[in-house]
Symmetry: C2
Subunit: 404 residues, 2 copies
């Protein structure tokens, strides 16, 4: 089907004007809402997008072949997300199994390469759009009016409250990023934190921050795969890392959590999830942003949790928090786009803009969410009711308020 016919068949709402090869303008939708004008005049790109829109739309944008003259990329992709139903790939469970083997096997070596692809981008780049603590995961808007900085701090307190930290405990942070969470946990309560990452850039900054804070004896960072961790920990936390594990390794992941968690231990796993059951990774994301990555449905996570002998203590679902986080990241990114283009190039900027846009839409339109899975080896590891979470958060927030 030609791109023209594809768009005509699907775009029923909105007001979209597309300039196609030859300069003809295609007017689409029912005329409601703000006008969006886009252009894709190269016949070869038109054919590619028509054949495989999920991959080629992003590629056309990266190449500068697809441009948005009016309304902005977010509005265009929002209309596309609402117009095109999610097409689950054919092949069912067997097809997914085969794709998993090919795309998400994630050996130690592949994992290191995949992590480097994204997280070894220069620290200078991430500093330009993340909060000051460099939290590169979903913030927690405990109150809607919170700034990004406040919501990221609230996220760390929310997780700390669920971890029920006590002085002297040993904490493992799987996928520690630039060290912000590990350092914060040790500042909330005198605990010893070991953070592991596969990113050289993250390791270097995390260690430097620990040294600057004179906490290097209590907060240590290592370039270590989760499968190679040793020892037992009272608490295990893992934020925004499970997305990189890949379906074939879920059992290995939760077996590792169970093996390294003390008998009365508590673990909090924070990950993006999908609401609509098993699927495959969006092909443009898999190729350009997160090779080896996969966003799981809860139904794919829980079998591995149960087989690992872990008990579920709580599952919280955060829905629009990540959409709000991504919106703020994109605003900061766009405000410093010229600087970033000098650091990398124009294609890189377009790629990141596209990534931030479609990720936000995944949460607003496609039912993506974040789940915080609180796990233990024994049910008695957490109190009888969840009230302690809010109480602990208030206690962690109070001194900061007084200091401010």
């Amino acid at each position: 089907m030609s791109l023209q016919d594809l768009l005509k068949n699907h775009v029923r709402h909105g007001a979209l004007s597309v300039r196609l090869p030859g300069g003809a303008r295609l007017e689409l939708g029912d005329g409601t809402g703000p006008r969006i004008a886009a252009s894709l005049t190269d016949p070869l790109w038109c054919a590619r997008v028509a054949a495989r829109p999920a991959l080629a739309a992003g590629e056309a944008y990266m190449a500068g072949a697809l441009t948005v003259e009016e309304g902005g990329l977010y509005a265009l992709m929002d209309l596309m997300a609402r117009s095109f139903p999610v097409a689950k790939p054919a092949g069912g469970a067997l097809g997914r199994w085969w794709l998993d083997r090919r795309m998400q096997a994630n050996s130690r070596r592949a994992s290191r390469r995949n992590v480097a692809h994204h997280y070894d981008l220069s620290t200078d780049f991430y500093r330009r759009f993340l909060d000051e603590d460099m939290q590169y995961s979903c913030a927690y808007f405990a109150r809607p009016e919170m700034t990004l900085e406040e919501a990221q701090a609230a996220k760390k307190r929310h997780i700390a409250a669920k971890l029920r930290l006590e002085p002297g405990q040993r904490v493992l942070d799987i996928g520690c990023g630039w060290g912000g969470l590990a350092l914060s946990l040790a500042s909330y309560c005198p605990v010893d934190v070991d953070g592991v990452t596969l990113s050289q850039e993250q390791l270097a900054l995390a260690r430097a921050r620990a040294a600057d804070a004179r906490m290097e004896e209590h907060v240590r960072f290592f370039l270590t795969d989760y499968r190679d961790v040793r020892g037992r920990y009272d608490r295990i936390v893992s934020v925004g890392m499970f997305e990189h594990v890949g379906r074939p390794n879920y059992q290995a992941y939760f077996d590792a959590v169970a093996a390294h968690l003390a008998d009365d231990g508590v673990a909090v796993i924070h990950s993006i999830g999908r609401s609509d059951g098993p699927d495959v990774t969006q092909p443009w994301i898999a190729k350009y942003i997160f090779p080896g990555g996969y966003i799981p449905a809860l139904s794919e996570v829980l079998p591995a949790v149960e087989r690992a002998g872990l008990v579920v203590a709580d599952i919280e679902i955060l829905r629009l928090h990540y959409a709000e986080t991504l919106k703020r990241w994109r605003a900061r990114f766009m405000a410093r786009r010229a600087e970033i283009a000098r650091l990398y190039d124009e294609r890189f900027c377009r790629m990141w803009e596209f990534y931030l846009v479609v990720s936000e839409l995944a949460f607003r339109v496609r039912g993506h969410m974040v789940f915080q899975l609180q796990l233990a080896r024994r049910g008695e590891a957490v109190p009888l009711t969840r009230d302690y979470i809010a109480e602990a958060e208030r206690a962690l927030e109070a001194p900061r308020r007084i200091a401010a």
Copy 2:
């Protein structure tokens, strides 16, 4: 293996003395803890218990062949639960599938028969050990010192808070019992509640209570299978009913929830769950207490939720709340045992005592729990954070406190 050898091989702790055929006393365990003395002197019963302990131990107790002279039945079964590992039946997924078809097919007719088996016991009987509102499901001990009455009231408020009731809404209660929850919801907020049950006894009392409270125009009860409900509801609640659905019907159950839930609706499903993954129903329970019943692992529930197109808004896990509830039911039951024996007979009393004991132990020793699954058709149906739950509970509790 003889019963003697079986006990010798497994009972390593505690102080258990068993009188066996011929009058010989077998002394078991390491002598720690309070002494338990039991007797099973009939050789035929010994052989049965040795061959199939999970079924025959309860049968021996019902028949009066197994007696406990010292320490009590709870202590005996506690020691057994800790001494004997859970033996998952052979056959794996295929074996379970076959058992499911045979035991949990639960057609409409079988469901009615299974429900009648347990819930059509006389209302007079249930009155003797339940709280005054006749809540026959896990209470919520919001504060540990709560009485059973208070904790059952707290459970209703906790569920109401998650339902986010608003005046004028239509509420469906699937498995409404004797009507207590439906009447309470309508007393918290002016909503119209339809409750469905398959028990004639429950229906009669629920309708009488609605009439007594002059609420029969707003709180109506029907003898209806969940598969035969019609219409759409703003809120759906189902407490302690999902345990009767049976694994082969999970998809039908959640498809029904999805079909009858309004677009911005919220559903709360409260059910017992197991922590250790798929299993089969304990054979004594399946034969004598809950024919057709099955306690699911979360990994068995979520695939059906996702396929039904429902989104998970929250999953709360309540662990020892049901153990505490069962402990209180058993204390009340035992205090009025003589009356109940006159209502039924001695064998019935022994059967119920055994059921209440092993159920409490399932929560204390075997990792059973209660999950409250909050579902919606759209993520926006619930607020951004869970704080509203505690706030709504406090608001519901406040006027009652002032009135008291």
